[in-house]
């Protein structure tokens, strides 16, 4: 098979769905027209733990427009078949309205269905729920952790004892909520025993499988649709209880039901990045060569499910050292279950490790970039595998040059601009991108246009656009003649749209399907006596702009259209697949970055302002540079939030989240984000995916908080070992 010319891949194209999005025509979950849909509003528990003693629905049911109030006292028993797929963590998942127990503040305890949104909202306020309340346990620092997950190589305790320089630091990381701009929402409709759901999800197949399990339906009786996702960052990786509530309400009322979580309900109706307490002990020699690290990691989970994430990876392989031990303990609390959030695990661990490296650099009087260079491993020391590609040094070098790192004074609190203390900081980042099996289907029609389908999602990175790019090149078509469809469980099955996996996984399946279709056309041509390509070796034929021709001889060829018309073929079609990465692994496959920050800190008020930021990325081949640039800048902005603003605050007396809104849970706004720049190193990584990509959606947020924290230290001489870094902490 001759390699196809690459016209679309690598070109800085605008989004194919841009027009729909800027005109308000892109339809998100709650915006689909389900004829006759009624509205549902969830009543959530007002206690943090305990039992429901009674539900008084009389007033709600009298309210005009209210059709039904469903709660544990009148809800049918739901099958809740086991489903360890769909990203359900180990444990016993929350079963809506199945018993009187309250496991966390905000748990759904009833749902009001009404003909109008206003009536449903008001009706929900009229439901009176009685409780037998117990004091919940919601404080990570006060609760008992579970059994640890351990990792060890060498003898870390002995290695630490014999180190010339030792660091012992404990960091606290706040809980973060994804807060995608689109609230989670579901429209559910039953047609007999068949369920159709429009749902905000990053994984239509996961929601499909979960609903089939909850209601014990055959797989083909459930359809999940979601063509546009208004942000996710991980919050849509699981089917949450409200989706079941909507489907249940639709079944009980015999009407299509629309259920939209309020912004407040997003704080306990969907997951979150868990809070951490992370103690790190580092040992090195006087020249900064690391010898040992001991990681004691506590993270919150719920009382009913054990959520874990890849928080141990970076500590095992980012830097070279003989002795490492790690204990990762989840702490069950009376909260809802966390979920992965952008850069899961790695973003949290990197704040600790990269801040500690900065502390060590300062202690030793070594430049932070030089300290990282001195600890660069020659292989992945956690797996003893060679790196597929690892260009962290180059990220640092390019970043230092482009950011003007030489202008940084190593002495903290030594650069001023009026009342402002100025500081520069950097951090390294690493992420282990996902690569999961998945399928895709391609169809080339007689008119020379193609449709490619896969049940993946586009929460914002530009899946529509980038998959169209790879499909167009593999088919030899122009972008405008290729349509990529996603967000429907009727399309070929894919893995979740998350973990930076989509291009490597779905993209590879798309290329496979399109390659097959192109090969079918080429074979048809070379075996067709009427074709100018008759008798040509199939390996000698390429396709460009819908025209097959001999490589190096564009004059000899014909179009798809003429070929299919002459052969009376309405279309050519193929299913493609990606089977996952090589197993056993041959390489350590990771994406890397170096992130740089300049901050200004008001010397008297402690106010921190980011002045400029730069990220340099080793993320393999970049399919869609214009969109990748936006994604990187967005990851940095997310990191600014984690570093300086974002903090979900729980009142431990009753488990209530006190800042469950966008006025009190602060996220970066336009004025918080001045100059931000992203640079992707040219290159590709061909470990197990033909596209040469590494995935970039996560790595762009990893290390950002540490870079900012390190810049704050450089500005002020104050090391804040908690996130977010607030003015209070700097006063």
């Amino acid at each position: 098979m001759s390699p196809q010319p690459q016209a679309a891949v690598g070109a800085p194209l605008s989004r194919v769905d841009g027009r729909l999005k800027v005109t308000g025509q892109a339809l998100y979950a709650a915006e689909h027209d389900a004829d006759g849909a009624v509205h549902a509003v969830i009543v959530d528990a007002a206690i943090g733990r305990g039992r429901i003693t009674g539900v008084d629905t009389a007033d709600a049911e009298k309210h005009r427009g209210v059709l039904r109030v469903i709660h544990h006292g009148n809800a049918p028993t739901l099958p809740y078949r086991d489903n360890s797929g769909s990203n359900n963590p180990p444990g016993r998942r929350l079963r809506v309205f199945q018993d009187d127990r309250v496991l966390f503040h905000g748990q759904p305890v009833a749902v009001v269905v009404a003909t109008t949104l206003e009536a449903a909202q008001h009706g929900a306020s009229l439901v009176k729920v009685g409780y037998d309340a117990q004091e919940p346990s919601t404080d990570l620092a006060e609760a008992e952790p579970g059994k640890p997950t351990d990792y060890a190589r060498g003898d870390a305790e002995a290695g630490l004892r014999s180190s010339a320089v030792r660091l012992d630091v404990t960091y606290q990381l706040a809980r973060n909520h994804h807060n995608p701009m689109e609230p989670h929402a579901t429209i559910a409709r039953w047609d007999g025993n068949r369920l159709t759901v429009w749902d905000k999800t990053q994984w239509v197949m996961g929601t499909h499988d979960e609903l089939a399990a909850v209601f014990d339906l055959p797989a083909d009786a459930v359809r999940v649709i979601n063509p546009f996702v208004g942000g996710g960052f991980g919050s849509g990786l699981r089917c949450w209880p409200h989706t079941t509530v909507a489907a249940l309400a639709a079944r009980e009322t015999g009407r299509p039901v629309k259920l939209v979580l309020s912004r407040r309900q997003m704080y306990f109706g969907t997951g979150f990045r868990p809070s951490y307490e992370y103690r790190l002990r580092l040992g090195s020699d006087r020249r900064g060569r690391l010898s040992a690290a001991i990681h004691d990691i506590d993270a919150e989970t719920s009382s009913y499910e054990t959520f874990t994430e890849a928080v141990m990876g970076a500590g095992q392989m980012l830097y070279s050292m003989p002795h490492v031990s790690q204990a990762y303990r989840t702490v069950p609390l009376d909260v809802n279950t966390p979920i992965w959030m952008r850069g899961p695990g790695f973003a949290s661990a990197s704040f600790v490790i990269e801040s500690a490296m900065d502390e060590l650099a300062h202690e030793l009087g070594i430049d932070p970039i030089e300290l990282r260079r001195r600890n660069e491993p020659s292989e992945d020391e956690s797996s003893n595998l060679p790196f597929s590609t690892r260009r962290l040094r180059e990220c640092c070098t390019v970043g230092a040059r482009e950011f003007g790192w030489h202008r940084r004074s190593p002495k903290p609190r030594s650069t001023r601009d009026g009342d402002w203390l100025i500081g520069l900081g950097m951090a390294a980042g690493v992420y282990d991108p996902g690569r999961y099996p998945g399928d895709a289907r391609a169809r080339l029609d007689a008119d020379g246009t193609a449709v490619v389908e896969a049940a993946t999602s586009d929460m914002g990175p530009g899946t529509y656009t980038s998959q169209t790019q790879v499909a167009a090149d593999a088919l030899g078509l122009n972008m405008r003649t290729v349509t990529f469809r996603l967000g429907d469980s009727l399309y070929p099955r894919t893995s979740p749209h998350g973990g930076s996996s989509t291009m490597a996984s779905v993209g590879t399946a798309v290329v496979d399907a399109c390659n097959q279709v192109r090969q079918q056309a080429i074979r048809l041509a070379v075996e067709d006596r009427e074709s100018p390509l008759y008798g040509v070796d199939t390996d000698e034929v390429v396709v460009r702009s819908g025209r097959l021709h001999v490589q190096g001889n564009p004059a000899r060829g014909e179009t798809y259209r003429s070929l299919l018309a002459r052969n009376n073929r309405s279309h050519l079609e193929a299913n493609g697949s990606y089977t996952g990465p090589p197993s056993p692994a041959r390489h350590s496959y990771h994406a890397y970055n170096a992130t740089f920050a300049e901050v200004a800190v008001d010397a008297t008020l402690g106010l921190v302002r980011v002045r400029r930021m730069l990220g340099v990325y080793d993320a393999g081949r970049i399919i869609s540079p214009k969109l990748a640039d936006s994604q990187a800048i967005g990851g940095i902005v997310g990191g600014i939030g984690t570093a300086l603003l974002e903090h979900t605050v729980t009142d431990h007396r009753d488990g209530r989240i006190v800042n469950a809104n966008l006025a009190d849970y602060l996220v970066p706004v336009n004025a918080d984000v001045p100059e931000v720049r992203a640079i992707y190193l040219d290159g590709e990584d061909n470990d197990g995916n033909a596209l040469g990509v590494k995935g970039l959606g996560e790595v762009v947020q990893v290390g950002v908080a540490a870079a900012i924290g390190n810049a704050v230290f450089n500005a002020t001489g104050r090391r804040v070992r908690q996130l977010p870094i607030t003015a209070e902490a700097l006063l």
């Binding site: 999005k21 800027v22 701009m181 936006s630």
Partner: protein, 213 residues
């Protein structure tokens, strides 16, 4: 679902629901769990919220005439209906987005008589005689508004959910003349949250559009 009525329609229904009859039960362990906040205090004791005297049964409506994207509309709306819910749930104009329903995110930004407002905080019944412009009303036939085109050119969005609010807000920002510098644009566009973090490019798109004027 349409609430659109001809001008000659019958007067709006009054609050003719059943009078609120059930006596509030103020048992110690009853907490009113509302969609917007129940009442709970520490230690497992609960305080009942006062009942709303007009709550049960009543849903008074009003008739209002307004112009939406150049089309005059006369609608009968529940008095509790926000402009945003009128647009999204009754007029089929889902381009204006509900992000927080509390005026904190700007996803619902529309122009009312040329001024930027949060449609989620604006009661529809207040809008008699006003002109409302939403994202659906910006393009001139098939030709995009310059700021819509600038958003595409600059890739000033990712998921697209805040985008209609950003663009309408940007149109307001340009009309107000708050585009003298990137700093000024950043300040005057800070009522619109973009969680995908496209601010740098939103500023460029507004600059590009302001520069054309």
């Amino acid at each position: 679902m349409s609430t659109e009525l001809p001008e000659s329609a019958a007067p709006p229904p009054t609050g003719s629901g059943e009078p609120f009859s059930s006596v509030p039960t103020r048992r110690t362990f009853i907490a009113t769990s509302a969609a917007v906040g129940g009442a709970v205090v520490a230690g497992g004791a609960f305080i009942a919220l006062p009942e709303e005297a007009t709550a049960a049964g009543a849903s008074p409506s009003s008739r209002v005439s307004l112009t939406v994207n150049g089309t005059r509309r006369t609608v009968t709306v529940d008095n509790r209906t926000s402009l945003l819910d009128l647009l999204r749930e009754h007029l089929g104009l889902t381009g204006s987005k509900k992000g927080c329903n509390a005026g904190a995110c700007g996803a619902c930004t529309v122009l009312v008589d040329g001024h930027r407002v949060n449609a989620c905080l604006t009661l529809a019944v207040r809008l008699e005689g006003t002109e409302v412009t939403t994202i659906e009303g910006l393009a001139d036939g098939g030709e995009l508004h310059p700021l819509q085109q600038a958003f595409i050119d600059q890739d000033a969005f990712q998921c697209g959910y805040c985008t209609p609010g950003q663009i309408v807000s940007g149109v307001g920002c340009v009309q107000e003349g708050h585009t003298g510098s990137p700093e000024e644009i950043r300040e005057w566009m800070s009522g619109n949250i973009c969680r995908c973090g496209c601010y740098v490019k939103i500023v460029r798109a507004v600059e590009q559009t302001a520069g054309r004027k």
